[in-house]
């Protein structure tokens, strides 16, 4: 049977399909991501929550001679030795003495794992992925290299979301890092 014009049912079905498609898109848009928000030299940064295994109050750090100054040293985490990367050095910021607010994020991407020394941890939040926008070109080059996006999603502050793989690539540039980052 051949129909010349769409029936009322066809039009209704079309509307239902369009509604479903837009709902799917909305769900995609509303896909959420967990972020660990921390500070460095007064600015706000974030790492994906899935990359951060643990947040540690800064234990004594033992420097290791011969290692690049991107490493602050090593720490003993319940009998396991973890390296500590100095994010100040990665971002080419001025050194800052350790204080009670410092934290170490135990982070991993693929088979690479390290502690990352930060000035302080603010919060762990969950936001919609679509709130993350491309990074502004005005960022300092060392920060921009490690940034995957940014946006105002914590206390009216601009937060730079970091690409952990890029942070690790500063130390092991030849390594093909697989996994989340």
């Amino acid at each position: 049977m051949k129909r010349e014009t769409p029936s009322g049912t066809d039009m209704l079905l079309e509307q239902v399909k369009m509604h479903c498609a837009s709902a799917d898109n909305r769900e995609l848009d509303e896909e959420k991501i967990e972020l660990v928000i921390f500070t460095m030299a007064g600015r706000f940064y974030a790492l994906k929550g899935e990359c951060v295994r643990e947040i540690l109050v800064c234990p004594p750090i033992t420097p290791v001679p011969g290692c690049p100054d991107l490493f602050r040293g090593i720490i003993n985490v319940r009998g396991v030795i973890e390296s500590v990367i100095d994010l100040h050095k990665i971002f080419e910021m001025a050194d800052k003495p350790l204080d009670a607010k410092n934290r170490i994020l135990l982070a991993s991407s693929g088979d690479i794992r390290s502690g990352i020394l930060v000035d302080g941890v603010e919060d762990v939040i969950t936001i919609e992925k679509n709130r993350i926008k491309p990074v502004p070109s005005s960022l300092p080059p060392a920060v921009k290299y490690c940034a995957r996006g940014g946006g105002i999603f914590y206390s009216d502050e601009y937060v730079i979301l970091l690409n952990l793989k890029r942070v690790f690539k500063k130390i092991v540039p030849d390594n093909d890092i697989r996994g989340p980052g």
Partner: protein
């Protein structure tokens, strides 16, 4: 190699000699140390002497030795005289189960710097010196 040989022989003890330079705790296996001598003013002019900080890059700009000692090290035919600091004197037997490898991301740098592992001594982390590699590098440099 030290650790692998020990494990292969099912020998879980290792005698180490501790020393400290500029706040860094180091140790090396005793089986490479043939003797220990006091450092004297005359020794300063001995060109065969190797200063530990010249081999291990310390972050301090100026390295000060407070109680220097000379460790005579040998491995096979190779012998060196190494100046270290603050040696307590008595070697210490340690259990291999308290030794850790460096984290993977750091290990290549540590190994290049003549360090092969970390001994956990309570809260302290003692950096284990690869004496064999150190002796070999001095022999190659000579």
């Amino acid at each position: 190699m030290i650790l692998e040989n020990k494990i292969a022989k099912n020998d879980i003890r290792l005698n180490i000699l501790l020393f400290n330079i500029m706040g860094y705790d180091f140790a090396m296996p005793l089986d490479t140390v043939t003797s220990m001598q006091h450092f004297t003013v005359e020794d300063q002019n001995d060109s065969d002497m190797v200063w530990f900080h010249d081999k291990i890059v310390l972050q301090s700009e100026k390295v000060l030795y407070r109680a220097p000692k000379i460790l005579c090290l040998s491995h096979g035919e190779s012998k060196i005289r190494l100046i270290v600091d603050n040696v307590p004197g008595m070697p210490m037997p340690i259990d291999l189960k308290n030794i850790r490898a460096f984290p993977g991301i750091m290990e290549p740098y540590a190994r290049t710097g003549f360090l092969w592992g970390v001994y956990l001594l309570g809260e302290r982390m003692i950096l284990l010196v690869d004496a064999y590699q150190l002796i070999a590098s001095c022999r190659n440099a000579a």
